[in-house]
C-alpha cells in the first residue's frame, strides 16, 4: 500500500482568518446557484471570519467591500467564488495588494464557467459550488506570500508573414523605433492583396494603395526584410525569444542584384515554360523571374526545377553574361540559417483559398471556363496574364457570367463557417465584369452579407447596375443541354428560393467564390510558436472579445486572416492592435511572470538526479560539491513535472505545493 497523506488542514496549525466572497454575476451565477446558501455554508467552515455574497464582486463597490473587510477584520487570506480565474484573478490580486496583504493569498473558485453555466439542476449546482468553496478555504490558508518575477523585454520584434497585416504591423513597430524582423516565405511581400485589381467597396486599385507600403517596408531603416525565408525554430519565453530563420537559396545574391531584370530577358528560354505561381498557373514564366513587376524586394529568383543549368549543367548561362560585372547570380548558393533574439512576435501568416475541386458538382477542373474568384482577380488585373482582358479560354469575351457564392463555406461537407469576404468581393467582381464586358452577370447567393462601412451602399449600386441576384445555392454546373439556348454553354442549375422554382441559367463563364481556409501548415506553425488553434484550424485568440490579438502564450500576438476570415480594413486594424500590444510590453521594459516556479528542499534531496532529465528547459542542475539538485528560477517555467516526478518528494512548486493540492482534493470530497 502506498502511503496516503494525512488529511485535516495540512500543517496541522490553526487555519488563517479567511474571507469568502460569493459573486452573483448578475443572474449568471445566482440564476443557477443558490449563492446565499453557499455564503452561509462558507461561514460555518473552520477559519472563515467573514463570508459574503454580492451582485458583482469585480465591480468597484465589490472590490471596496473586500478591502473594507480585510482592514476591519484583519483577514489573512481571501477566497473569491466567481468566474474563471483566467478572467479576474488579476483583478482580485490587485485588491489584496491594495489592502496591504500579499496578492497570492487569494484562491479563486470558478462557479460560473464550471458550475452555473454548465448545469441545469440548481440543487446539484449549489452542492458543487459548496464543495469547491470548502476546498478553496482549506487550500488558501496554506498559500505562501509570493512575489512575481520581473524579466527584461528585448525590444526587437519578429513579424511572421508579409501580407498586408504583416506589413502594417512591421511598419507601425518600425516607426515607433523598434528593430523589426519581417519574415516572408515567398520571394516577395504583398500576400493576397497584391494579386487583387480593385478593392471593395471603394474600388481603389489594390496596387496603388499597397505598393507604397511594400516599398516602405522594404526600405525602412528599422526593418530587416527577409523574403524567401521561413522561421525554423523558436525557443525562450516572453521578452526573450531565440528564433532561428531559414533563408532558402534564391541563387541570386541579394545585395548585388539591382533588379534590372536583364537576366530574365537574356535567359536561353525565349518563352516561359513554367506555370506562373503568382498568376495561379494562368500564364507561364521563365526559370529566372520576378514574381510580379512591383515585387518587393526587386530581386530575381532562379527556379532550380526549371533552370537548365541545374538540370544538366550545360546551359550557356546567358543570364550570367547579362548580369556581367555585378556577378549577382550564384548557382552554388546554399540554404543558410540565422539566429535572432526578439522579445515579442506578431504572427500574420494569412489564409489559403478553398480548393474548388472539392465540390465536384461545380465542374472546376472539368470545364475550362469555370474559374475561382482568385483566378478572376488575376484575369481582371492589368498586370495579369491577359493584361486585364476578361476573356474565356478561347480568347472570346463572355456574354453571360455566373458567380456562385459560398463555395466551400457554410457547408457541413466542407467548411462550416462563413468566409465573410466572399459576398463583397463577388459584388466587386460582378461590377468590374459588367463594366468591362457588358456581360449579363448572375449572382447566386444564400444570404447577402454586407455589414461594413459603405458595403450595403455598394450592394445597392450593383442592384442599380442591373446585375442579377438569385437567392439559392447552386446545385450543379454542367454542359448538359435540354434547351436549344443551352447548347454548347455551361448551365447553372439552382432553385430561385424567393421565386420558389428551379431555374437553369446558361452562361459562358462560371466564377466560384471560394471561401477562406487556415494555411495548410497552420498546425505546425502554431506548435512552433506554442499557441492554440480553434477547431477549424484558425489561430486561437486569448479572448474572443477582450483579447482578440493576444494568445495564451505571453508575447505572441496574431493579426489578420490567420485568426479567421477578414477583409483588408479588419486585417490592418488588427495588425495595428497587435503592434500596439507588443509596444506596450516593450515600453514597460519588464514583464512580470507568475511565481509558480519549483524549488528544491535541499536537506531532503537524495541527489538521485532523476529530475535533471525531467525538466524540458534544463532549468535543473546538479551541485556536485553538495550532491544536491538546484533549480534556476529564471529558466523554470513552472510546469511542475519535476515536482510530480521527484522520488523523494523534495521538490515543491510555489502556489501548487503538494500539501495545498491534497487539501483541495480532500476539500472537494469531504462531506458537507
Amino acid at each position: 500500500m502506498p502511503e496516503i497523506r494525512s488529511s485535516g488542514n495540512g500543517s496541522g496549525r490553526a487555519p488563517r482568518r479567511v474571507g469568502v466572497y460569493v459573486c452573483h454575476c448578475g443572474t449568471n451565477i445566482a440564476g443557477t446557484v443558490d449563492v446565499r446558501s453557499v455564503a452561509e455554508y462558507a461561514a460555518t467552515l473552520p477559519g472563515v471570519a467573514v463570508s459574503r455574497e454580492y451582485k458583482y464582486m469585480c465591480s468597484d463597490p465589490g472590490q471596496a467591500l473586500i478591502q473594507q473587510d480585510i482592514r476591519d477584520n484583519n483577514l489573512e487570506c481571501i477566497v473569491v467564488a466567481s468566474c474563471s480565474p483566467l478572467l479576474h484573478e488579476p483583478t482580485f490580486r490587485r485588491v489584496l495588494a491594495r489592502s496591504g496583504i500579499n496578492a497570492f493569498l487569494l484562491q479563486m473558485v470558478n462557479v460560473r464557467e464550471h458550475v452555473s453555466w454548465v448545469h441545469l439542476d440548481k440543487k446539484a449546482a449549489t452542492e458543487k459550488a459548496k464543495d469547491l468553496v470548502r476546498a478553496a478555504v482549506r487550500r488558501v490558508s496554506l498559500h505562501k506570500p509570493l512575489q512575481k518575477r520581473r524579466v527584461p523585454i528585448n525590444p526587437n520584434v519578429l513579424v511572421v508573414g508579409g501580407g498586408i497585416a504583416g506589413i502594417h504591423a512591421a511598419l507601425t513597430l518600425a516607426d515607433a523605433g523598434k528593430q523589426v524582423y519581417l519574415v516572408e516565405r515567398e520571394p516577395t511581400i504583398g500576400g493576397h492583396m497584391a494579386m487583387f485589381d480593385k478593392t471593395f467597396p471603394t474600388l481603389d486599385c489594390a496596387a496603388c494603395i499597397l505598393t507604397p507600403k511594400m516599398t516602405a517596408a522594404g526600405s525602412h531603416k528599422n526593418i530587416r526584410l527577409w523574403t524567401y525565408s521561413e522561421v525554423a525554430q523558436v525557443e525562450g519565453y516572453v521578452g526573450n525569444y531565440k528564433v532561428k530563420v531559414r533563408h532558402k537559396p534564391r541563387y541570386v545574391i541579394d545585395d548585388l542584384c539591382i533588379g534590372c531584370q536583364e537576366c530574365i530577358a537574356a535567359c536561353v528560354y525565349k518563352e516561359g515554360k513554367t506555370a506562373d505561381e503568382f498568376n495561379l498557373g494562368l500564364s507561364k514564366r521563365k526559370p529566372v523571374y520576378l514574381p510580379f513587376p512591383q515585387a518587393v524586394p526587386q530581386k530575381v529568383v532562379i527556379d532550380p526545377e526549371a533552370c537548365i543549368e541545374f538540370k544538366s549543367g550545360k546551359c550557356k548561362k546567358t543570364c550570367v553574361e547579362a548580369c556581367g560585372e555585378r556577378k549577382a547570380i550564384d548557382f552554388h548558393q546554399k540554404e543558410t540559417m540565422e539566429e535572432i533574439e526578439v522579445g515579442t512576435i506578431v504572427l500574420a501568416t494569412g489564409f489559403r483559398t478553398f480548393d474548388a475541386a472539392r465540390n465536384p458538382y461545380y465542374g472546376y477542373g472539368k470545364y475550362g471556363n469555370v474559374y475561382t474568384s482568385l483566378e478572376v482577380e488575376r484575369l481582371i488585373n492589368a498586370s495579369g496574364p491577359t493584361n486585364g482582358e476578361i476573356v474565356l479560354r478561347d480568347g472570346s469575351r463572355p456574354k453571360a457570367v455566373g458567380i456562385i457564392h459560398c463555395v466551400g463555406s457554410r457547408d457541413a461537407n466542407t467548411n462550416r463557417w462563413c468566409s465573410k469576404v466572399c459576398c463583397m468581393y463577388s459584388l466587386k467582381l460582378a461590377h468590374l465584369i459588367k463594366e468591362r464586358t457588358g456581360a449579363e452577370v448572375y449572382n447566386f447567393y444564400i444570404d447577402m452579407r454586407t455589414p461594413g462601412k459603405g458595403y450595403e451602399e455598394f450592394y445597392d449600386r450593383l442592384l442599380d447596375e442591373g446585375v442579377h441576384f438569385i437567392r439559392g445555392r447552386v446545385a450543379e454546373v454542367s454542359d448538359w443541354a435540354i434547351h436549344p439556348s443551352e447548347e454548347g454553354r455551361l448551365v447553372i442549375r439552382a432553385e430561385d428560393t424567393l421565386a420558389g422554382f428551379v431555374r437553369r441559367v446558361p452562361v459562358d463563364m462560371v466564377i466560384l467564390s471560394v471561401g477562406l481556409e487556415p494555411q495548410a501548415d497552420a498546425q505546425e506553425v502554431r506548435r512552433m510558436f506554442n499557441i492554440s488553434c480553434a477547431t477549424e484550424g484558425w489561430f486561437l485568440e486569448r479572448h474572443p472579445k477582450l483579447a482578440p490579438v493576444s494568445t495564451f502564450t505571453e508575447g505572441v500576438y496574431i493579426a489578420g486572416a490567420c485568426q479567421g476570415p477578414k477583409d483588408i480594413p479588419d486585417c490592418v486594424a488588427q495588425a495595428g492592435a497587435a503592434a500596439a500590444e507588443a509596444l506596450a510590453l516593450i515600453d514597460a521594459q519588464f514583464v512580470e511572470l507568475e511565481p509558480y516556479t519549483a524549488y528544491v528542499l535541499e536537506e531532503e534531496c537524495s541527489g538521485c538526479k532523476s529530475c535533471l532529465t525531467a525538466c524540458p528547459y534544463q532549468a535543473i542542475s546538479f551541485q556536485h560539491e553538495k550532491k544536491k539538485a538546484v533549480i534556476n528560477e529564471v529558466l523554470c517555467k513552472g510546469c511542475g513535472t519535476c515536482v510530480a516526478g521527484c522520488p523523494s518528494g523534495c521538490i515543491q512548486q510555489n502556489f501548487f505545493e503538494d500539501q495545498e493540492i491534497f487539501e483541495e482534493i480532500e476539500g472537494v470530497l469531504a462531506d458537507a
Binding site: L120, P616, C639, V643
Partner: protein, 158 residues
C-alpha cells in the same frame, strides 16, 4: 444522430464523485469554453487546476480515491501541444504505471481516465464527463477504505 443529454438528475440513487485534474492551458480552458458556450453536462466532477498534466502526482490520484472519489479524470494537451513541451508525455507514462497499480488494488479501469482535450474542444469536456459519470455510476460506489480492509483480511487469512 441522437443527442447525448446531460445526465445530471437522471438517477437519484447514487451520484458518482469525480475528481478532475485539468491542465491550465488546454483542458481547463476547454471547460471554460464549455461554460461560455452554455453546454450542459453532469455536475459530478470537481475540477482542480494544475499548470500541466505533468504536475499530477500519482499520490494525488490515490489520495482522491482514498477520500471517497469514485473516479479520477486527468485532462491534458494533445500530444505535441504541451505548453511545456512534453509534460503530457510524462503524465501519460505515469498514467499507465498507476493504472496497473490500481488494477491490483481492485479499482476498475473505468474509474481512472486520461484524456487529451485542447482549448477548443469544449464539447469533449461535456461528452467525456457525461460518459465517465455514466460508466462510474454503472460500477457503483468505490468505498475504497472498505476494500482495503478486505485486502488486509485476505492477507491475514493467507
Amino acid at each position: 444522430m441522437p443527442e447525448n443529454q446531460p445526465t445530471s438528475s437522471l438517477s437519484d440513487h447514487f451520484e458518482p464523485r469525480i475528481v478532475a485534474f485539468f491542465c491550465n492551458w488546454c483542458t481547463y480552458l476547454a471547460a471554460d469554453l464549455a461554460g461560455t458556450s452554455r453546454m450542459k453536462y453532469a455536475p459530478n466532477a470537481r475540477v482542480i487546476r494544475v499548470m500541466c498534466s505533468g504536475r499530477v502526482d500519482p499520490q494525488f490520484v490515490l489520495d482522491a480515491f482514498a477520500h471517497g472519489a469514485d473516479g479520477v479524470f486527468i485532462g491534458g494537451c494533445h500530444p505535441g501541444d504541451c505548453h511545456y513541451q512534453e509534460g503530457n508525455y510524462k503524465a501519460l507514462r505515469r498514467y499507465h504505471l498507476l493504472k496497473r497499480v490500481l488494477k491490483e488494488m481492485g479499482i476498475e479501469e473505468e474509474r481512472f481516465r486520461l484524456e487529451w482535450i485542447s482549448a477548443a474542444e469544449g464539447d469533449r469536456v461535456r461528452s467525456t464527463i457525461n460518459d465517465m459519470v455514466e460508466k462510474v455510476r454503472a460500477l457503483g460506489p468505490l468505498d475504497w477504505g472498505l476494500r482495503e480492509e478486505e485486502v488486509l483480511a485476505e492477507e491475514a487469512a493467507a
